[in-house]
């Protein structure tokens, strides 16, 4: 069978890619998609560890709630993105500096 570590390596790689994307990109939409990648990577580790230890479904249950929160996060994040776009006609996150003095 496939070792647990392979899944963890894939999840770690996806998390790293998503984190770098969130830091480097300045397009608000792509940053939000990077956050989705991060949440997906964490879900993968949760499910993989749950598969390794099958006494209960705690890991899968946690991943289920993470998916639910991710959906809510996408909705609210995109709404904020739309509001910022209407305010400044731009989706670049570095141009959203209304709170700067």
């Amino acid at each position: 069978m496939i070792p647990l570590e392979y899944y963890l390596a894939v999840a770690g790689a996806v998390f790293l890619i998503g984190a770098i994307g969130f830091v480097v990109r300045r397009n608000l939409l792509i940053q939000l998609m990077s956050v989705e990648l991060l949440l997906n990577a964490v879900n993968l580790t949760l499910v993989a560890f749950n598969r390794a230890r099958q006494d209960d479904h705690n890991g899968q249950m946690f991943a289920f709630f993470v998916i639910a929160v991710a959906a809510a996060e996408a909705a609210v994040g995109l709404a904020i993105g739309l509001a910022i776009y209407r305010l400044s006609r731009s989706v670049r996150s570095d141009e959203a500096d209304l709170l700067r003095n």
């Binding site: 069978m1 496939i2 070792p3 647990l4 392979y6 899944y7 894939v10 770690g12 790689a13 996806v14 790293l16 890619i17 998503g18 770098i20 994307g21 830091v23 480097v24 300045r26 397009n27 939409l29 792509i30 939000l32 998609m33 990077s34 989705e36 990648l37 997906n40 879900n43 993968l44 499910v47 993989a48 749950n50 598969r51 390794a52 099958q54 479904h57 899968q60 249950m61 991943a63 289920f64 709630f65 998916i67 929160v69 991710a70 959906a71 809510a72 996408a74 909705a75 609210v76 995109l78 709404a79 904020i80 993105g81 739309l82 509001a83 209407r86 305010l87 731009s90 989706v91 570095d94």
Partner: protein, 185 residues
Amino acid sequence: MSGVALAFFGLSALATLVGAVFTVLAVNPIRSAMALLLAIGGTTGLFLGLDAQFLAAIELIVYAGAVVVLFVFVIMLIGPDASPAADSKAGFSRTLGAVVLGLFAVVTGFLLMRVGGGLHPLPPSRPEFGTIDSFGRELFTRGLVPFELTTALFVVAVVGAIAVARGRHRGEERAVEPAVKESAP
């Protein structure tokens, strides 16, 4: 059996990684969204390989069916402004952040390899593990309270999203139909 499982894992992992890379690299957000779709498809395959059939279905329904479609809708709503000119200004700190993150990952990977301990092959799974029946039974007994609280979260999120996306000056906006110019307070 093992060869097929390994091939399936490799294919799913490849789709996930390629999708993730192109999600981050794409200039046009619509391509980014399509790459995200690929990554989600790969993750679904990985979930299936881990005997999480119910979660694989949920992943497809929620991510591919709802989240990516929402992204595409917003990209279409914003139009050509959704892909602004290249990220060139003041990129130094961001690049530095990315390099530090990469270094951290390399060091972590190296340390994990040093620790060793060998690979842990996954044990054969119980036949009912991860099916809708057993997962749902557990979700609706021990996880019932958080599950019901999720509905409150969704209501709050939807109300908040509508309130934020609609803006504050609803009456004035309808009077000035074409564009929202003076929405800044």
